[in-house]
Point group: C2
Chain length 292, copies 2
């Protein structure tokens, strides 16, 4: 039995599951102080015979093994959590192999094992919700380097009809600042979820997301692109993104996956649906068990 923690900035989800990705039990509670929140986590796992534990976390985090701050949530602006040693706290309670990564890297791994990205060696998982985060698996491994990817903050070109200044506290009108849920809502004056399916806002959203995909494709060349998160429940976005992406690439990257016939099975919703996060943490636990 594997243990999984989806450590989100708003809520934590803890669960147990099998090596086949089946979630057997789960609980959820709001993210408050580290002491209170981690107290509930420890309470949940205390009497469960887990063989390994996976943590997919909000960030930025330090996932680089051997680093002095490995296992920390690092420079988050979230009150109380800056430089919090989440893996250290768990290690002092549970003597099992652990894996620690971003929530989106976890989700990419989970989708590759049990979801929409099975059978490929490289994929990215994009969540578009209150923020924009992207996880990446390349050559069968989750991408780490200096740190972990932060692809939601790339700059994209502004839509000519968009005067909105953007919401990102670091970059103003980076991708997240222009295209995450709160940006759509603030630009429109109503929450994104209340906009009609044919509102022009979705064309603009697709324009921004397609630019991001173009960059991810040109830089990482993933074999599958999975798009989840609250905003991507607006399924009308998928065909709009497909069209805009093909316009932007303009035939430069020649691959059958980008053809009219296949693009809708290249850029897809999560196969694990709303379980993408917790299954991602489960996948991390499995990787810890295998010593990957």
């Amino acid at each position: 039995m594997l243990g999984a923690i989806e450590a989100g900035g708003t809520k934590f989800v803890c669960g147990i599951g099998t090596k086949e990705g089946e979630v057997l039990d789960r609980v959820s509670f709001p993210t408050t102080t580290p002491e209170e929140t981690m107290g509930k986590v420890i309470e949940y796992f205390k009497d469960k015979p887990i063989e390994a534990l996976g943590v997919g976390s909000f960030g930025p985090i330090d996932p680089v093994l051997g680093s002095d701050t490995y296992g920390y949530i690092t420079t988050t602006p979230k009150p109380y959590w800056t430089n919090y040693n989440i893996i250290g706290t768990l290690k002092s309670e549970f003597n099992v192999p652990m894996a620690f990564d971003t929530d989106v890297n976890g989700a990419a791994l989970g989708e590759s094992l049990w979801g929409a990205a099975q059978g490929v060696d490289s994929c990215i998982y994009i969540t578009v919700g209150t923020g924009i985060g992207v996880g990446a698996m390349i050559g069968g491994k989750l991408v780490h380097g200096l740190s972990h990817p932060e692809m939601g903050h790339i700059y994209v070109r502004r839509h000519p009809d968009d005067p909105f200044e953007g919401t990102c506290p670091y970059h103003g009108d980076c991708l997240e600042g222009l295209a995450a849920g709160p940006a759509i809502g603030r630009r429109a004056g109503v929450p994104a979820g209340e906009l009609a399916k044919d509102d022009p806002a979705w064309e603009m959203e697709a324009y921004y997301l397609a630019q991001a995909l173009m960059n991810y494709i040109l830089i990482l060349s993933p074999e599958k692109i999975v798009m989840g998160g609250g905003v991507m429940k607006q399924l009308q976005l998928f065909p709009l993104i497909h069209t805009k992406l093909k316009e932007l690439l303009n035939g430069y990257v020649q691959h059958p996956n980008l053809s009219d016939e296949k693009i809708s099975s290249y850029i897809v919703p999560p196969g694990l649906g709303d379980n993408a996060g917790i299954c991602g943490a489960l996948a991390l636990a499995q990787s810890a068990l295998q010593g990957v």
Copy 2:
């Protein structure tokens, strides 16, 4: 002894060298038709006792082992070379292990073995010359997926003082269209190499390249960035790029390598200098020998 082929769109360089990256001999000739050019390649290696052969090629190419067109130069607009099976041609003459990749992936590997990126697990090699190409090593492996990276063609935001329409036949004002050598020259009305070191053109160039680096860092998180090619011989670009990059990131990615003290050893010229290309092909030969 290893054999190396740097297959460029303008010229081919063939050489032999050691497993320590020392080039022992080399020849160079213009790229004409495949028959004539490959005839000279075969002639050069015919009587040399090479144990493996590495080919770093202009592209796009198909470097994906197991693909039907593995070893081909694919959709290049270069006359005569479209869908040319370069590895097939070499295999019919030489019965040694071969490795085939983009010239820039080869250079990234070469820099990681013998050059400026030694001791790291992930790096990128950027060439800024008649085009812009980028090779990437992540987790110790060169990046392949759907195909190979084509990072020179990402979109960047236009400089507010830049009315130039760009030179890319596919995308107009993508990065390559705005910032490769020919774009600098056409915008200025004189060849880039004739501009004074303090010409404002270099500020603009640094603005575009820094945007690209920001995206590469946020997406790939490389531990070292090596910048070569003709344009990067303008060494005044390095400090300009460092400054612009820090402005753009605005403190979002916190890492010592991005500090004022260390950024000039994070973003660096090639350790192998003008040998980056041929040593890259040598590094590919070595990887073929090791069956990597």
